[in-house]
C-alpha cells in the first residue's frame, strides 16, 4: 500500500518526531490535516489549482481532519484583531458576553460618528470617519509604543533599560492598556461599551489617557538612554 510505506519512508528520512503530536489539549495523530476555511479554494475549478493544492485535495479524501477551533471563522466579517481584543476582554471564559460587549462598542462608535456626520456641514462630511473597524485599527495603531522598558539586574541593582519591542508585544500592550483603562478609570454606573467607544474615539484622534501613557513610557525610555548598553540581545 502506498500510505504505510510513505509514512515509514518519511519517518526514517526525517529527524525524530514524536509518535503523536499534542495540539490544543488533545493529541492528534500526525496524519490529521488542518481544516481549510477559505471558500475560494473550493470554488476554484480543478484546472486552476497548482501542484501542491492538487496534492492537498487528494490527501483530504483519505486523511482525517482536526476539529476546527471556535475562533476559526469562514465569515467575511471576521477580523483577527477584533477576535484577539474580544479574547482579552473575556473573563472566566464568558465569550458570549465579551463578544456582545464588543459588538455593542462597535455599534456605539458607529452611532456617535453617524450623528456627527449628519449634523456636519457639507464640506466637513468627508473628514468624519464612520467605519468603526477603521477607527478601531487606527486607534490601536496610535496606542502602540515604539520602545519598551525591561528590568535588568546588574551588580545588585535593577535598572530600567530601553529595549525594542516585537510587533506582537506592541499590539498586546496597546490592547492591554485600553482594556485596563476602561475597567478602572470609569464611573461605577457607566457600561463598558460606552466607555470603550469613548476611549477608542479619543485614541483615534491621538488624545486620551492611553496615548498619554504611551508618551510617558517613551519619555522614560529616552531618560534611561544611558543604560541602553546593558542590553545584551
Amino acid at each position: 500500500m502506498a500510505a504505510p510505506s510513505a509514512a515509514g519512508l518519511g519517518q526514517r528520512l526525517r529527524a525524530w518526531l514524536p509518535r503523536i503530536i499534542p495540539v490544543r489539549w488533545s493529541r492528534y495523530n500526525p496524519s490529521y490535516l488542518e481544516p481549510e476555511v477559505k471558500k475560494e479554494l473550493y470554488q476554484k475549478p480543478s484546472e486552476e489549482l497548482t501542484e501542491e493544492e492538487r496534492e492537498q485535495m487528494e490527501l483530504k479524501v483519505v486523511r482525517p481532519i482536526k476539529a476546527a477551533p471556535p475562533s476559526l471563522s469562514s465569515s467575511v466579517f471576521s477580523d483577527p484583531m477584533i477576535s484577539k481584543f474580544t479574547n482579552m476582554m473575556m473573563k472566566s471564559g464568558n465569550k458570549v458576553l465579551a463578544r456582545s460587549l464588543m459588538s455593542q462598542t462597535l455599534e456605539a462608535i458607529k452611532r456617535k460618528q453617524l450623528e456627527k456626520y449628519h449634523k456636519a456641514p457639507e464640506n466637513e462630511k468627508e473628514t468624519i470617519e464612520c467605519n468603526p473597524y477603521v477607527i478601531f485599527h487606527q486607534a490601536l495603531k496610535n496606542c502602540q509604543p515604539i520602545i519598551g522598558l525591561s528590568n535588568i539586574t546588574k551588580g545588585g541593582k535593577t535598572y530600567q533599560v530601553p529595549v525594542p519591542l516585537t510587533d506582537n508585544r506592541k499590539r498586546f500592550l496597546a490592547m492591554k492598556w485600553l482594556i485596563t483603562e476602561c475597567r478602572e478609570n470609569k464611573h461605577r454606573r457607566t457600561l463598558m461599551p460606552e466607555k470603550l467607544s469613548q476611549e477608542l474615539l479619543l485614541a483615534f484622534n491621538n488624545e486620551g489617557p492611553v496615548i498619554k501613557k504611551k508618551h510617558v513610557l517613551h519619555k522614560m525610555a529616552e531618560a534611561n538612554r544611558a543604560y541602553a548598553h546593558f542590553r545584551w540581545w
Partner: protein, 382 residues
C-alpha cells in the same frame, strides 16, 4: 360633529402641510425601496416592501410611548422615521376600511415568531387611525403592568383590588399627548367622587378627569378607569371612532410576578388596570376596532418557543378573546429583505467594506434567517 380630518396636534399639522405627497424634488432620486406616500390611507399592494417616512413632529404626537426601543434609537441616528409597508399591515388596513361601525367591535390579534415585526405593524395601523381622526387608546406594553411594580396600593373603590399609581399616571400623561383634541370634546356622563372632598361634575370635559389623575397620583388608576368607561359608553354614538391598541395582550390573562404584603401572589384580576382593560377588550361596544399583539418577549412563565395565540393566551385568554381575526406576521420575504438591506446601505448604516459585496449580503441573509430583529442586531456592529 367632530372633525374627521387631521386629528393631530397643531404643531404636527404644520409639519404635515409642508410634506406634500408628490415625489420629493431632490437632487438625487429616491431609490426603489422608498415611497414618498406618507399617508397610510393610500398604501396599497403597490407600496409593499417599501419604506415610508413619518415626519418627526408626527412621531412625537402620535407615538409618545409606542415604538420599540431599537427603532427609537434608529430614528435618533438617521434623523428620520421610516417604516416598512408589509402585507399583514395592508391586510389589517383593508379590514378596517371595510368594517361596519354599527356592528360590535371586531378583535384582531397579530401573532408571529419573535422579532418578526408585530409591534411595528401595530404602529403602522395606529398611524393610519390617528390620521383618519380616530380616538386611539394605546397601551404600549401590557407586560409592564404585571411585573416590576414598586408601589401597589389597595384600591379605595373596591376592597380586594390593587392600584398601580405610577403606571397609570405615566399612561395618562402619554394619552394626554396623543389625544388632546378629544379630551376637550368628550364630556363625562355622571358625577365622580375622588375621595371625600374632590369630585368631577357631570358634563365636564374628560381633560379634567385626566388632570385630576395626574395631579393626585393616588387616584390615577381610578381616573384611568373612568376615562376608559366614558369612552366605551360614548363610542356607539358615532361622534368618534375608537381604536383600542394593546401590545402584549397575553399579559392580561397570564400570571404576575407581583406579591401582596403577606407574600401571597397576585393574580391579574386583582389589578384594577388589568380588570378595566379586560372590560374594554370585550366586544360589547360598537363604533371602532380592537387591535392587539401577542408577545412572548416580555411574557412571564411562558416558554420561549411559544408564539401561537393558543399557547400564549392560555385557555382563559383565548375564551375571553374568542371570536377574533388572527393576523400572522412572517419573516421578511426576499423583496422585503432587499429593501431593508438597501435602506441600511443608503443610510450608511452598513459600514464594513465586505457588507457591500454579494458575499456579505448572502451571509447576512443566512445568519439572520430573514428575521427583522436578527438583521437589525447583526447590522449594528457591521
Amino acid at each position: 360633529q367632530l372633525d374627521h380630518g387631521c386629528a393631530l396636534h397643531t404643531a404636527a399639522r404644520d409639519g404635515l402641510s409642508s410634506m406634500s405627497s408628490q415625489d420629493v424634488p431632490a437632487e438625487r432620486p429616491r431609490a426603489v425601496f422608498h415611497t414618498s406616500e406618507s399617508d397610510p390611507a393610500k398604501h396599497t399592494e403597490q407600496h409593499e416592501a417599501r419604506l415610508y417616512n413619518i415626519p418627526l413632529e408626527e412621531v412625537k404626537a402620535v407615538f409618545p410611548h409606542g415604538l420599540p426601543h431599537r427603532f427609537q434609537q434608529q430614528i435618533r441616528t438617521f434623523n428620520e422615521a421610516r417604516v416598512m409597508v408589509r402585507k399583514p399591515a395592508l391586510e389589517l388596513l383593508a379590514y378596517l376600511r371595510a368594517s361596519n361601525f354599527a356592528h360590535p367591535a371586531v378583535r384582531y390579534v397579530i401573532y408571529g415568531e419573535r422579532g418578526t415585526g408585530k409591534t411595528m405593524t401595530l404602529c403602522h395601523v395606529l398611524h393610519y387611525c390617528s390620521r383618519q381622526g380616530w380616538l386611539v387608546l394605546h397601551i404600549p406594553d401590557a407586560h409592564l403592568w404585571v411585573k416590576n411594580c414598586k408601589e401597589l396600593l389597595q384600591s379605595s373603590y373596591k376592597k380586594d383590588r390593587l392600584d398601580q399609581p405610577l403606571q397609570a399616571s405615566v399612561w395618562l400623561k402619554n394619552f394626554k399627548t396623543s389625544n388632546e383634541r378629544f379630551l376637550q370634546e368628550i364630556k363625562t356622563q355622571k358625577k365622580y367622587m375622588w375621595g371625600k372632598q374632590e369630585s368631577t361634575e357631570e358634563g365636564r370635559p374628560l381633560g379634567e378627569v385626566v388632570e385630576q389623575g395626574l395631579a393626585r397620583v393616588r387616584s390615577a388608576t381610578d381616573a384611568m378607569g373612568v376615562v376608559l368607561r366614558e369612552i366605551k359608553q360614548q363610542s356607539h354614538r358615532g361622534s368618534f371612532r375608537l381604536l383600542v391598541a394593546v401590545d402584549g395582550v397575553n399579559a392580561l390573562w397570564g400570571r404576575t410576578t407581583l406579591r401582596k404584603e403577606d407574600k401571597s401572589p397576585v393574580s391579574p384580576e386583582e389589578l384594577t388596570l388589568v380588570h378595566n382593560l379586560r372590560k374594554m377588550l370585550r366586544n360589547d361596544w360598537s363604533g371602532g376596532a380592537i387591535v392587539t399583539t401577542l408577545s412572548q418577549t416580555g411574557s412571564l412563565f411562558k416558554p420561549s418557543s411559544a408564539y401561537t395565540p393558543q399557547e400564549l393566551l392560555g385557555k382563559e385568554g383565548f375564551d375571553a378573546l374568542d371570536p377574533f381575526v388572527p393576523i400572522s406576521v412572517p419573516n421578511y420575504s426576499p423583496r422585503e429583505f432587499e429593501s431593508c438591506y438597501g435602506y441600511y446601505l443608503e443610510r450608511k448604516w452598513l459600514q464594513h467594506e465586505k457588507a457591500h459585496t454579494e458575499d456579505g449580503k448572502a451571509e447576512l441573509r443566512f445568519l439572520s434567517g430573514s428575521n427583522p430583529r436578527q438583521l437589525d442586531r447583526l447590522a449594528g456592529p457591521l
